[in-house]
Amino acid sequence: MLVLGIESSAHTFGVGIVEGGKVLSNEKSMYDIGTTGMIPKKVAEHHVQNSNSIVRAALENAGVGLEDVEGIGYTKGPGIGNCLQVGQIVAKTLAQKLNVPIVPVNHGVGHIEIGRLKSGLKDPIVLYVSGGNSQILKISSKPERHYRILGETFDIGIGNMLDNFARAIKLNPAWGSSVEKHALGGRYLSMPYTVKGMDFSFTGLLTHSIKQIGKHSVKDICFSLQETAFSMLCEATERAMLLTSSSELCVCGGVAQNARLKEMLKYVAEEHRAKIGYAANEFNADNGAMIAFVAERMLDGGCRTRLSDCTIEQRYRVDQAQIY
């Protein structure tokens, strides 16, 4: 089934085309966050302005026409309301125009499923790390197949924490990957470390790091912040793997693009002779292909949604979504 997926939950408007689990194209346009971060109204405007050209580019790169599309998927949530709405409207318009089925997709499930299936893992412990989310999950079959949350952040997502810090020290662009670049070759400073079983918290670490600005070099703070936060994730992940006797680990989400995080998790996996898998960076960053990928599985699995039920939900948690 040839499915077109639309992602618009945050800074990225992305359209992907998938057929039989194979990604035919994956186009996107990203709102420039500069040093100020995301301003919902402006991000939504960016999505509106780029939606048409990105849909066209995705079709062209896949070598298909609009009439070949057999199903539509879009991000229902979680995300920023203004932004989600743009993707929803584009998706519903296309579905109506083409008279094809449409399904709402959970953004987190998109990241996880494409990461898990593309790396050939069956039933891994999943570490899903992005701007708004930081969760440790595992597939559960009761009452219906879904991702159960074993542990998660008590406050903000790790990406959000890194972005906040990047803004505080005025890095441009103000987000996690800039912190990663500045962290290279830093020295370790003592930082607050908060893990409670399989849950963790980042706000104390963020406040402490911001207070260090001016007292230590940017390099040392970035390095220490990143090392501490990632160590917390590793500890919680390791605990989850041991408690569930898992021999597979899957890392996904925007922060999974960070090379140091992947290196640390590789050590965790190696210590327990577990297999580690992650998607290509293209799918860890927000993208439309993952939405199409999951939408195709949902449609093949018999999921059908009435147009009037194609809503958006800013707080649509991963464990509320059935997986196919």
Partner: protein, 195 residues
Amino acid sequence: MRKIGEGAEAVIYSGKIYGKEVIVKYRAPKRYRVAELDTTIRKGRTRKEAMVISRATNSGVNVPMLIGLGAYEIYMEYIRGTALKDMEASKAIMAMTGVQLGRLHNAGIAHGDFTPANIIMKGKNVYVIDFGLAEITESSEERALDLLLMKRQISASLNRAFLSGYTKTSGSSRDVLRRLSEIEERGRYQIRTLA
């Protein structure tokens, strides 16, 4: 010394010292952490855990007795029994468990990982083990998290028995129970519809 278990943080060995059965909990280095952070965490947690165990013993909580202490390892009494997670717990056992937690909290200790895996039934007594995540604190938040963790893993009727033992013993149960319902009402945790 024989390796008998492995947690996320430590390796557990058993053996004999002066003819007495002991457990050694050794916090092994983690390759993923930078050396400074690794040593700080391992040393700090080992020291703190030893401190908590001796404090609990002094306050009349059933815990393994502390025998010795190194920089990264703790020697303690071996409690040979059955973990609650491996048996059919009765209401009476859960009430006893509640009493033990009440005493811990009265002693200013929050356990941090109060689950059926860390409660051992030996003879007619229940013992609390693994103080690896414990904190010395008066915070009702930390105390409520102990109740929450147990609640998530046992049936509603067993939880009622557990709470009856706890409220009977704890000097701050009203505050803690209020805090518990607050935690459960927090947005992030409200809507686990499928979980």
